[in-house]
Amino acid sequence: MSDNPVSLSVLGLSLKPGAVSFDQEIRRGEIVGLAGLDGHGQDAFIETMAGLRPPVAGHVNAGAKADRVIRSFRQAVRSGIAYLPRDRRATGIFPSMSILDNFAIATVGRDRKLGLISPAERRKRYDYYRDRLSIVAPDPGRMITTLSGGNQQKVLLARALAHKPDVLLLNDPTRGVDIATRRVLYSVFRELAAEGMALVILSTEIEEALVLCDRILVFREQELAASLEGAERSSERIISTMFGRAA
């Protein structure tokens, strides 16, 4: 894993003025977890990597060195970084649009044939992800709000995957999702990593991070408190780091 090429790196990043800066490299095929008490910087970190929030100091690069610095969300998308937002209702779904349109909205340009949108092309793209993520939806023309929370989340994941990203940033992807859907999502995440995608998963559940992630970054007071790998990853260790009790 450690000799895989770097997909995303941060250099000298601080999340708030005066905070200790840190460097990180996220490699192809790696699943990195972000943990911490709510509001201790992990949210800020994932949004900074997505280009949604300008870093206080340092920068985020698509790739290894400072060759492709991410300065905006659109630039991040162009550089192959996809982001799945946390609050599905407020910043994810478009309640008045159909399942199909909700899926395609971030990548409508790909449905073009001779410059015009081709519904058949869009349907074909959707069907691929529907099978892959086992989205349970009878008719893609129905409103997105007819779906269960778990299936809405799968549609949003499909929207992010439709970018065919190198790096997938997931902000608490299994919040409010039933256990069966979680299993599907976990196996999809592992498959994606095996295919070479780099995944960063912010999780509010330590067990989830332990099950999924190769490496867990624990945040405390807007600083990176620990990067736990291999046998170091234990829930006691994570919790004590979260509360600042670890050495």
Partner: protein, 328 residues
């Protein structure tokens, strides 16, 4: 119609349902009002007179269609300067182009109308999306600016129009209307249309989906401006001269028509077909009331009542659709 275009409906029922979802109660009202009009005034509504009727209704339909794109963009998006744009185009085309410069070629006249509309639309879009002035205030500014300018260059009605333009005031007014619809059908097949509806539906979600929200909204004002320019030409064709007082009256009726046509004033829902049907409804109501010799004051009361009822009905329809969703 979105659902029709993007999914394969298994029967005709979902397609009808989609049309209903987009246009609301306007088609029902259309049938009722048409029946009443044909009943009370068979001569005026005989098939041979339809051409004239379309000509009479065209400017209002044009104004309603023009008002829709800015409203679809959501977050208070609205362009109340549509009427004054029509009046301004009317004044410039007749007074400056045709009378002073003697330019009567269709290409120049149509091109000028479209360019004027696009420029004013760009100004509105700049103020509403980049300076972030509340759209209703920004376009109120444009409204007053244009009404004042129009009255300055054209204090009283005057002028004539070339034959080709005059002929567009009759049955041939279907040509500019058709052109606007063709342009819109083209836009619907572009990524831009999906972006506009998404921005109108929820701009924060649109932003995190990577949509250039500001640009999409800005362009919605430009489209509104262009369509308003074309509507100004239709009005010019109908009245056959330059008149500074007619244009501005279209603004509020057009917005009533848009609301009646099932376009949500909150954005993201509805379409130009609904707006057009809403405008035809208002035209039919107008002609029925005029037949009974009601005064224009009564017409105003009727517009106001329609606007309120339309919004209430759209809200009820929303709730009803929501309940169906819950049951499904």
């Amino acid at each position: 119609m979105t659902a029709m275009a993007t999914s394969q409906p298994t029967s005709k029922v979902p397609a009808l349902k989609a049309i209903w979802r987009q246009t609301g109660f306007a088609p029902i009202l259309f049938v009722v009002l048409l029946a009443i009009n044909i009943f009370i005034n068979p001569a005026r509504f005989s098939p041979s007179a339809w051409g004239t009727l379309i000509g009479l209704a065209a400017p209002l339909v044009g104004a309603a269609i023009a008002s829709a794109p800015a409203i679809l963009g959501g977050r208070g998006g609205i362009d109340i300067s549509v009427g004054p744009i029509m009046g301004f185009v009317n004044a410039i085309v007749v007074l400056v182009l045709i009378q002073k410069l003697g330019l009567t070629s269709p290409f120049i006249v149509v091109g000028a109308a479209v360019l004027i509309g696009a420029a004013i639309g760009a100004l509105n879009g700049f103020m509403a999306t980049i300076l972030r002035i509340q759209p209703i205030v920004a376009t109120l500014g444009t409204y007053l600016l244009l009404v004042g300018t129009t009255l300055t260059i054209l204090p009283a009605p005057t002028g004539t129009v070339p034959v080709w333009l005059k002929s567009l005031g009759g049955p041939l007014s279907i040509l500019p209307l058709g052109a606007v619809f063709l342009i819109w059908i083209g836009i619907r097949r572009l990524p831009y249309y999906d972006h506009l509806m998404a921005v109108g539906s929820d701009d924060r979600a649109a932003y995190t989906a990577g949509i250039p929200v500001t640009l999409v909204r800005f362009l919605s004002y430009v489209i509104t401006g262009v369509f308003a320019g074309v509507a100004g030409l239709m009005m010019t064709a109908l009245i056959g001269s330059a008149d500074p007082s007619i244009g501005p009256t279209y603004t509020l009726i057009a917005i009533s028509a848009v609301a009646l046509g099932g376009v949500s004033l909150a954005g993201g829902r509805g379409g130009l077909l609904g707006a057009a049907i809403g405008a035809i409804d208002i035209f039919l109501l107008q002609s029925a009331l005029t037949f009974f010799n009601f005064s224009t004051f009564v017409l105003q009361i009727a517009y106001g009542a329609i606007l309120v009822i339309a919004i209430v009905l759209t809200a009820l329809q929303d709730r009803w659709l929501g309940r169906m969703r819950g049951a499904a």
